[in-house]
């Protein structure tokens, strides 16, 4: 029984991590708390569902479409909203408020286009087969989510650590101005980050829409709150932290449902968050950037 719970916790944790990776990427590189990430995530789920239902496409095509669609959406948000604020050197609160506006626009657009009620992916979008191994059941989808999130984390971490691109991004995270003086195409990389984070958010939306088997225009909001918790637990802007934060939260939630009852689930989440912030404000993995005069 406990084995099964642990597998559930693993897949739930990976779901959170998947969402948090994009969120933390934006914070790490752009320094923006992107409160529109939940709405982008929701957009991905709806975009995939629409093309899959209308053109009877398979799941991989839906995922690809969500990736491209949300990536372009992220690019558009960056171009229209974040770039002008960057150009003006606005304090970090201001872009955050702008992203609230973006989230309201996206959420209400979805509500207008698709209605407020729950929707599902078309029947048979994903096989319901379960794999059984040593008494533990796991669905194909869960396995997919777990593998995908780990691979994604590994790719992102390697890219950031080992490639020229990653070095440039890390330099920008330290100081965009210094990076610019070193000849790094700062604006281009900001766009790239916005594209990648939003595209990943869209893919996460599709997978999680399938996982919970229900989509609604506001599905991104609770995810956003969890995502913030995950990113803080792990350390803001840290890829590894997002993964471990997600897993940590997944395990904490599943175990607290198991031992304390389901109503205490969120209390455990945010209680933990509160504790981590008090004891280790930089998160479990993060490095706090505090500039003293």
């Amino acid at each position: 029984m406990l084995d099964q719970q642990l597998v559930n916790a693993l897949s739930l944790g990976c779901v959170y991590a998947l969402f948090a990776l994009g969120f933390t990427l934006i914070f790490g590189v752009l320094g923006v708390i992107n409160l529109a990430h939940g709405a982008v995530f929701m957009t991905g789920a709806y975009a995939a569902m629409t093309v899959m239902a209308r053109f009877e496409l398979p799941l991989w095509a839906g995922l690809l479409f969500a990736f491209a669609f949300c990536g372009l959406l992220g690019l558009l948000i960056d171009f229209l909203v974040l770039r002008p604020l960057r150009a003006r050197n606005a304090p970090h609160l201001i872009p955050m408020i702008a992203t609230i506006g973006v989230a309201i626009v996206l959420n209400s657009a979805a509500q207008g286009l698709f209605g407020a009620e729950n929707q599902r992916f078309p029947e048979g979008a994903i096989s319901n087969d379960t794999l059984q191994w040593a008494g533990v059941r796991i669905t194909v989808l869960e396995l997919g989510i777990i593998l995908f999130s780990f691979v994604l984390m590994a790719v992102l971490m390697l890219a950031l650590k080992r490639t020229q691109l990653g070095r440039a991004l890390r330099a920008m995270a330290e100081s965009p101005k210094a990076a610019y003086l070193l000849g790094i195409n700062v604006e281009g990389l900001f766009y790239l980050t916005s594209f990648a984070a939003a595209a990943l958010g869209g893919v996460a939306g599709v997978l999680i829409g399938l996982y919970s088997n229900a989509m609604s225009p506001l599905m991104g909001q609770p995810m956003l709150h969890k995502g913030i918790a995950v990113v803080i637990l792990g350390g803001m802007g840290d890829i590894r932290g997002a993964m471990f934060g997600g897993l940590f939260l997944g395990f904490a939630e599943v175990l607290s449902i198991n031992y304390l009852g389901s109503t205490m689930r969120d209390a455990v989440t945010f209680g933990l968050l509160f504790l981590v912030l008090l004891v280790r404000p930089k998160g479990l993995f993060g490095t706090l950037q505090e500039r003293k005069v």
Partner: protein
């Protein structure tokens, strides 16, 4: 004429009085922002005030003035307790810790069903709040804050906002002043919660969650935090916008979002920005930049 006015009042009185609630909330976060802290527990403090007052009114039959007092004291006490460990955090981390505290409060309310009615909330709260209570509360809050700005405490807040380290070196007790701002902000939010609970007939935990917290911050920033006028103006516009836009039906919220983005993009210091007014309407000799 009188009749038209009174029907107008019947239809819109709740909206007009919620202007007062939101103004108090925006001022409560302005207070912490003016001390350089991004604390986002105001929705939770509002909730603590609302629940304390509703329970005291309904289960213990306290008179309204005592209830208001208690509705302010309870969040102040909560602020003192959570402020001790959290206020040493700075920037985004303080925002996140206070948001997390807000979620914990919401969940505690949901789980103490005997006292708070759980997820369904409390209904049937007597509507004791009159329009002049609200007006008086806003005017008093504005007066106190306005006097405070020009006092030693207000200047200390400003010094801390500009540079914490330098303020500390000048002999300002940074911790105590931050705590004071936090507690006073909590009192204002609690007042807003109390008056609002005795106005809307019912309260439920959803009202005091994450979205409310973000909304309060948005109202203040939207109006501009450079002066006391900003938060009040921002909260008024933010409250009225959905009603003004109601002919747009489904696209109302969407336009609301677009307006928010546009204001952030084109009016960086909020709507009420004295420096900009000077630039626009002042003498022309100072060339525009």
């Amino acid at each position: 004429m009188m009749e038209a006015l009174s029907t107008f009042w019947v239809i819109h009185s709740n909206l007009i009085l919620s202007l007062g609630t939101n103004a108090l909330l925006a001022l409560s976060i302005w207070l912490t922002l003016s001390c350089g802290m991004l604390a986002m527990a105001n929705a939770a403090f509002m909730g603590i005030g609302a629940y304390t007052s509703a329970i005291l009114t309904m289960q213990f039959g306290w008179p309204f003035p005592a209830v208001i007092l208690a509705g302010m004291l309870a969040p102040m006490l909560a602020a003192l307790i959570i402020g001790l460990p959290t206020l040493r955090l700075s920037g985004v981390y303080l925002a996140m810790a206070t948001l997390a505290f807000g979620e914990v409060v919401r969940i505690v309310i949901i789980n103490t069903e005997l006292l708070t009615g759980g997820i369904g909330g409390i209904a049937g709260i007597p509507t004791s709040t009159e329009w002049w209570h609200m007006l008086l509360a806003v005017v008093c809050a504005l007066f106190v804050l306005w006097r405070m700005r020009r006092s030693k405490v207000g200047r200390a807040f400003e010094a801390i906002r500009e540079d914490e380290t330098a303020a500390g070196l000048m002999g300002i007790n940074v911790g105590a002043n931050k705590m004071l701002a936090f507690i006073l902000g909590a009192a204002l939010a609690g007042l807003a919660g109390t008056l609002n609970a005795h106005l809307t007939f019912m309260i439920d935990p959803k009202e005091f969650g994450f979205d409310r917290g973000v909304e309060i911050l948005t109202m203040a920033i939207f109006g501009g935090i450079g002066s006391l006028v900003g938060p009040v103006l921002g909260s008024a516009i933010f409250t009225l916008l959905p009603t003004v836009l109601s002919p747009l039906a489904d696209f109302r919220l969407m336009v609301n979002g677009v307006v928010l983005v546009l204001i952030v993009l084109f009016l960086p210091n909020g709507i009420w920005d004295p420096a900009r007014f000077k630039q626009w309407f002042g003498r022309k000799q100072g060339a525009r930049t």
